[in-house]
């Protein structure tokens, strides 16, 4: 019996377990998936939880219920990946030998990377919303907050769902308007990038949103420390931004397991072929989702498109065929803009987000790079799709793994 081991039962790992179990014969291939946690969180929901748009129970289920029959789920801590010997070593002393390893251990926030970030004000006036606990603590804070300077901040790239902090700013504008206290809140968006949007077409189409919503912006801000006592963030160039409430996206890193196993770069992301998803270190090790270093967005939609291509490449690898160099960096993201509207963007490694229609060229019903209620409904509907279609590895009709150029206005 040959064995495939999948590390991590989040979005990407769960999808791969489902895809591969339906493709590979049970008599030939054992599939194991390992994750020490018990809960599967719908991470896009972290954006809505702070604003009381979702309840905690909307976004939490068990890992177990999405693992297909015929796949063994091991809920233990992984100690080490020994790629040279094709072994996964567990904390409890067990060892698993694999023919093929799929690493889907994701990314986590690392507030400890910045001096003072996890200081005395952590979860008092300094919050993250990239964890369930952080988003919930922030919800409780926002319920009672009486206003002041709200600073929404990105520490450094890359981060999961790069548009989430922008969406957070837009939703905050909307939230405080509904609470009739928008005049008591000053919103500032602080980014290490050169603008809220950095691609030309998106900037042209969307820059007005910042002005319309009265969100100030501070660009090229490379944070050096959080000053807890004086409640301000300070950058390496000496710039300071004061806050009453800081909502930060800390540095994102790959899992510590990757560091322990010597497989990562300086942020524990795994060097991976961006077209085939094969790791650069070992031919029989593949990487999917946020864990890799490929220059695509760290987002569930990317993992979904990757899963379709990686499944095919694993079958090719088993049959000693050359891998398909097919992954194009395709991402498809809804961007909440507040007041019940959203945008949709669709892009890849080489094509920036542009205006157009999706998924049917010239028809829609979704419109790219334009605010609409339909797009917002799409984002809300996506939670159902996630739990019921996406994790099970079912192909989403009319949405191809590679980006289509039809229906998009490139010029």
């Amino acid at each position: 019996m040959k064995r495939i081991v999948i590390l991590g039962a989040g979005t990407a790992g769960t999808m791969m377990a489902n895809h591969l179990r339906s493709e590979l014969k049970k008599e030939e291939w054992e599939i194991d998936i390992i994750d020490e946690r018990e809960k599967h969180y719908y991470q896009p929901g972290y954006l809505f939880l702070p604003f009381d748009m979702y309840e905690p129970e909307d976004i939490v289920k068990t890992i177990q219920e999405f693992i297909p029959k015929g796949v063994r789920l091991l809920q233990d801590k992984i100690e080490l990946i020994d790629g040279a010997n094709n072994l996964v070593k567990m904390r409890n002393g067990d060892q698993l030998h694999y023919e093929i390893l799929i690493i889907a251990t994701g990314a986590r926030i690392a507030p400890e990377e910045i001096e003072g970030m996890k200081g005395s004000e952590w979860q008092k006036s300094v919050f993250d919303f990239y964890t369930f606990e952080g988003a919930l603590a922030l919800r409780n804070k926002l319920r009672e907050w009486e206003g002041g300077k709200l600073v929404v901040h990105i520490t450094e790239m890359p981060i999961k769902c790069p548009v989430a902090p922008l969406e957070f700013s837009f939703l905050a504008d909307s939230y405080f308007k509904h609470k009739n206290m928008r005049d008591k809140v000053e919103i500032t968006y602080v980014t290490p990038l050169s603008g809220a949007f950095t691609k030309p077409k998106a900037t042209e189409a969307l820059d007005h949103l910042m002005v319309d919503k009265n969100i100030k912006i501070e660009t090229d801000f490379a944070i050096a420390e959080v000053d807890n006592e004086n409640k301000k963030i300070i950058d390496y160039g000496g710039k300071e931004v004061p806050f009453d409430l800081l909502v930060t996206v800390p540095t994102n890193k790959g899992d510590d397991l990757i560091e322990r196993s010597g497989l990562g770069d300086d942020l524990n992301f795994i060097p991976t072929n961006k077209a085939t998803l094969q790791s650069q270190a070992f031919k029989n090790v593949f990487v999917i989702g946020d864990a890799s270093n490929i220059p695509a967005s760290k987002a569930g939609s990317v993992a979904h498109f990757e899963a379709e291509i990686l499944t095919e490449n694993i079958l090719r690898f088993i049959n000693n065929e050359p891998l398909k160099e097919e992954f194009d960096g395709h991402a498809n993201c809804f961007i909440e803009t507040g007041n019940g509207k959203a945008l949709l963007i669709d892009f890849n490694y080489t094509h920036e987000p542009v205006e157009g229609t999706f998924p049917f060229p010239g028809v829609g019903p979704l419109r790219l790079l334009k605010e609409s209620r339909m797009n917002h409904m799409g984002k809300l509907a996506f939670r159902w799709i996630y739990w019921n279609v996406l994790l099970k590895g079912t192909h989403i009709p009319f949405v191809s793994a590679n980006m289509t150029e039809a229906g998009k206005h490139f010029n």
Binding site: M157, P162, F197, T198, K199, A224, Y236, D266, L267, P295
Partner: protein, 102 residues
């Protein structure tokens, strides 16, 4: 888009970043630095060489990475290329602005 600098015509994007690294040479680097109001010292050149080497390896650049490069720490990087050091340094080095989302 094209622009003429140091007696040569080079391809640039709308933000002035060179789009063909093969066209870069030291004189062009010096002229681009002048446009950014920077006098290049040996320390600047050390950093420019480092980021060009990383670019050739297709290894993505970030402020963090430069800080851990052993070539320069972040404080000095800011002192050498004030305000937005990575943007300025990559422009002078003739490589694309480090990628981001939208």
């Amino acid at each position: 888009m094209e622009k003429t600098i140091a007696g040569r015509t080079i391809a640039v994007n709308e933000e002035g970043y060179m789009t063909n690294f093969g066209e870069w040479n030291k004189e062009i680097g010096e002229s681009l630095a002048k446009e950014a109001q920077i006098d290049l010292s040996q320390r600047h050149w050390d950093i420019i060489k480092y980021i060009q080497d990383e670019f050739k390896k297709e290894s993505p650049l970030s402020i963090r990475k430069i800080g851990k490069s052993g070539v320069v720490d972040i404080k000095e990087f800011y002192a050498l290329f004030p305000n937005a050091p990575l943007k300025t340094a990559t422009k002078i080095a003739g490589i694309p602005k480090p990628a981001s989302c939208i």
